[in-house]
């Protein structure tokens, strides 16, 4: 990493790779994490995100490359000498100790004065709102409370960075949503960098300042949630983050910042593209987010719509989900404002799906399966 002396970066991964025999768990991860940043490593299971986290924590050594912590190479430093702390997936609280003793474990290892430990532990329990539970054993706490004990136990050491391995995976949906906000609050309060690993894109989008999307050991894209959502770098990222309609086609011509793409289904559409340079004839896909396309009676502006058969209409409260089958059988999903229903839109009718000028986004290559990725159960399961 060129800017390796940047004092604002807590952690710098300098071209690290990890292989187990022939299996490449992480390939050439090269990024840095700034002080106070909430950073997510997102990807399906087996993508290398947890291995990367373990290399930062010190439980695994990189096969090649360097891990820099506060500007110092710690690649071969054991975990107990690294100033980072981990919140384990199943919390790994010590079952034979009280909440207080669990939280005091780190400071006691460092042989800090017991009086100081008392105040800092109680202070941290205050931050995670568990002051009244100091004398309890972990088994006497609920999942969410155990999670907060694990947080307090790590944060009481004021590490340079806090590593969280699927921190919310063991909680149920309601609690998970509440804990997302709670985690964010605690992170702001202590001002420590949080690096967390998750396979839940919603979680990553909600909490992170930046996200690294990983797949099969490779870092596919790093950016803010908005960047990753609006301008994914690959078909994988587009399909993994949120839901997307991916329509395969070929580049017909260039029109300023836009590309004109002839879709395989027949229609010709205009879509924006960034990054990769495309030339005429390239196999590409046009990504359309379901919430950014609208149903209409007909395509009014050439290049900003496509026609198909409305096969399903599901009322979801604020929105309605429309499934439209294009002429070649490709299914598209459209999330429409449920209050703006139109009489001509009815099941079995031929309707149009339209969009604004900068909604379509061109990606390199053709998807395994054209159309909406969220209607395919196998696809969803394969990304979890």
């Amino acid at each position: 990493m060129g800017e390796s002396a940047n004092p604002k970066n807590v952690i710098e991964l300098d071209h690290i790779s990890k292989t187990y025999g022939d299996f490449v768990a992480v390939h050439d991860a090269n990024f840095s994490i700034a002080t106070g940043e909430f950073f997510a490593m997102l990807g399906p299971s087996g993508c290398g995100k947890t291995t990367t986290l373990k290399m930062i924590a010190g439980f695994e050594q990189p096969t090649s490359g360097r891990v820099m912590l506060d500007g110092v190479d710690v690649s071969s430093v054991p975990p107990y000498k690294r100033n980072v702390n981990t919140v384990f997936q199943q919390y790994a609280l010590f079952p034979h100790m009280t909440v207080f003793d669990n939280v005091a474990f780190g400071p006691r290892s460092k042989k800090i004065d017991e009086k100081k430990i008392r105040t800092s532990v109680m202070e941290m329990l205050e931050i995670v709102r568990l002051s009244d539970f100091a004398a309890r054993k972990p088994t006497q706490l609920s999942g969410g409370q155990q999670q907060r004990v694990a947080l307090a136990r790590a944060l009481v050491n004021y590490p340079s960075a806090l590593l969280l391995d699927e921190p919310l995976a063991a909680l149920d949906l309601k609690l998970r949503e509440a804990m997302q906000i709670e985690l964010k609050r605690i992170q702001r309060e202590v001002g420590i960098s949080f690096i967390f690993v998750t396979h839940d894109q919603g979680e990553a989008l909600t909490m992170s300042d930046r996200i690294a999307v990983m797949s099969q050991g490779h870092v596919e894209q790093i950016g803010t949630p908005e960047e990753i959502y609006r301008t994914p770098s690959s078909l994988f990222v587009a399909g993994f983050i949120g839901s997307a309609n991916l329509l395969p086609g070929t580049v017909e011509s260039r029109d300023g910042d836009y590309l004109v793409v002839r879709l395989r289904v027949g229609a010709i559409v205009r879509a924006s593209a960034t990054g990769t340079a495309f030339s005429v004839g390239d196999k590409v896909s046009v990504m359309l987010r379901p919430e950014r396309i609208k149903p209409a009676a007909t395509v009014e502006v050439q290049g900003r719509g496509i026609e198909g058969l409305l096969t399903d209409l599901v009322f979801q409260g604020a929105t309605a989900r429309l499934i439209v089958r294009l002429d070649d059988g490709t299914e598209m999903t459209c999330l429409a404002d449920s209050s703006a229903t139109m009489p001509q839109i009815a099941l079995g009718r031929r309707i149009a799906i339209t969009w604004d000028s900068d909604c379509g986004f061109v990606l390199n290559g053709w998807p395994d399966k054209a159309g909406a990725n969220t209607t395919d159960i196998d696809h969803i399961e394969s990304t979890l």
Partner: protein, 356 residues
């Protein structure tokens, strides 16, 4: 008619009390029969009562309806074990205690009369104090040795065994498929005076060192206290190893990682996390080792000498060779109660109720 119906309904709704009562009556009958409180015609009556009580409960279970069966079920399940213990444990213990307070009319008599002969107990202590001492000291040393050998072994198998775990455990356990006696006699061959081990020690000049450590005596390895303790240690090792292994195996390795993450060295992680969590295994292992080792007579017989006799040997000798049942019973009772009180004290001190 109606009174009969209400009576039978009352029995059904109180079937749990009926079950408990029947179990207690049956147990008392069995103890009385087993300990020979009664004899002759009275015994036949008692047998009849026992049969009637059991048949009565059976009838109630079959005819009393589902509610009665539900209430009877726990006692039905308890009964085989309870009655077995009544006949084969409580009755013999009663007999043992009774005999321990009896005297023989003459030295060569095989009979004995109950005379509240408490002197049997004082004689047991007076004449066999050394053997009691041997039993507890040898068993205690052997228990400590099994912990020292078994713990590291269990640790390695549990945490480093990987896919060889079961093979390694098998290697520990399989020798114990051979008879206890055979294994102990095999050790007497291994440690024999002109055996391979002694000759090797002699050749490399270890004998002097081992004699200084009181492990060898007069150039001999067999028939020494060390051999007896060694035999006990060997024979009871699996009873220490397996409970420790089970408690170590249950420990989530993430806890060790977490301790490391919280700035603990491997040694501190072991001391603060692994060791406390494996205490229940060590506790169970010590009980399983110490209790039978203290009463053991096989190791002292085959690996010891007349000066290493343990209380088990003396009890066996008094029972089977001297035919002195009263003193032998008194010794058994003392052994039983002293082990029981040691275990109680040990449990009070190291009791591990709040460690699941």
């Amino acid at each position: 008619m109606t009174t009969a119906v209400t009576a039978s309904r009352r029995i059904s709704t109180n079937a749990d009390r009926v079950g408990l009562g029947a179990m207690l009556v049956a147990a008392v009958c069995l103890i009385a029969l087993g300990a020979r409180w009664v004899s002759g015609p009275a015994a036949s009556v008692l047998l009849l009562v026992l049969a009637l009580v059991l048949i009565g409960v059976l009838v109630l279970a079959l005819r009393g309806g589902p509610e009665a069966r539900r209430l009877l079920a726990p006692y039905g399940l308890l009964k085989p074990g309870m009655l077995w213990l009544a006949l084969f444990f409580l009755a013999p213990v009663w007999s043992l205690l009774r005999i321990s307070l009896s005297t023989k009319p003459s030295r060569f008599s095989v009979d004995y009369n109950f005379t509240w002969a408490f002197e049997n107990y004082s004689n047991a202590f007076k004449d066999f104090g050394t053997q009691f001492q041997h039993a507890f000291v040898y068993a205690a040393i052997a228990t400590v040795l099994t912990v020292l050998i078994g713990y590291p072994l269990a640790y390695v198998i549990a945490f480093r065994g990987g896919r060889y775990k079961n093979i390694l455990l098998g290697m520990v356990v399989i020798p114990f498929f051979t008879s206890y006696l055979i294994r102990t006699i095999a050790w007497s061959t291994i440690l024999a005076d002109r055996g391979f081990v002694v000759r090797t020690f002699d050749a490399v000049g270890l004998v002097q060192v081992l004699e200084w450590l009181h492990i060898m005596d007069n150039g001999k390895l067999l028939n020494t206290p060390a051999a007896v303790i060694g035999g006990l240690t060997y024979n009871f090792l699996p009873f220490m190893l397996l409970p420790i292994y089970v408690s170590l195996e249950k420990i989530d390795t993430n806890l060790v990682d977490a301790a490391g993450d919280l700035y603990s060295s491997a040694a501190r992680a072991f001391r603060k996390v692994v060791l406390p969590l494996s205490v229940p295994g060590v506790f169970a292992g010590t009980l399983l080792t110490f209790i039978p080792a203290a009463g053991d007579f096989v190791n002292a017989q085959f690996l010891g000498n007349p000066n290493t006799t343990m209380i088990g040997n003396s009890i066996q000798d008094q029972f089977l060779k001297q035919n002195n049942y009263p003193v032998a019973s008194a010794m058994s009772a003392v052994l039983m109660f002293s082990i029981a009180s040691l275990v109680l004290i040990y449990t009070k001190i190291f009791g591990t109720e709040d460690l699941a």
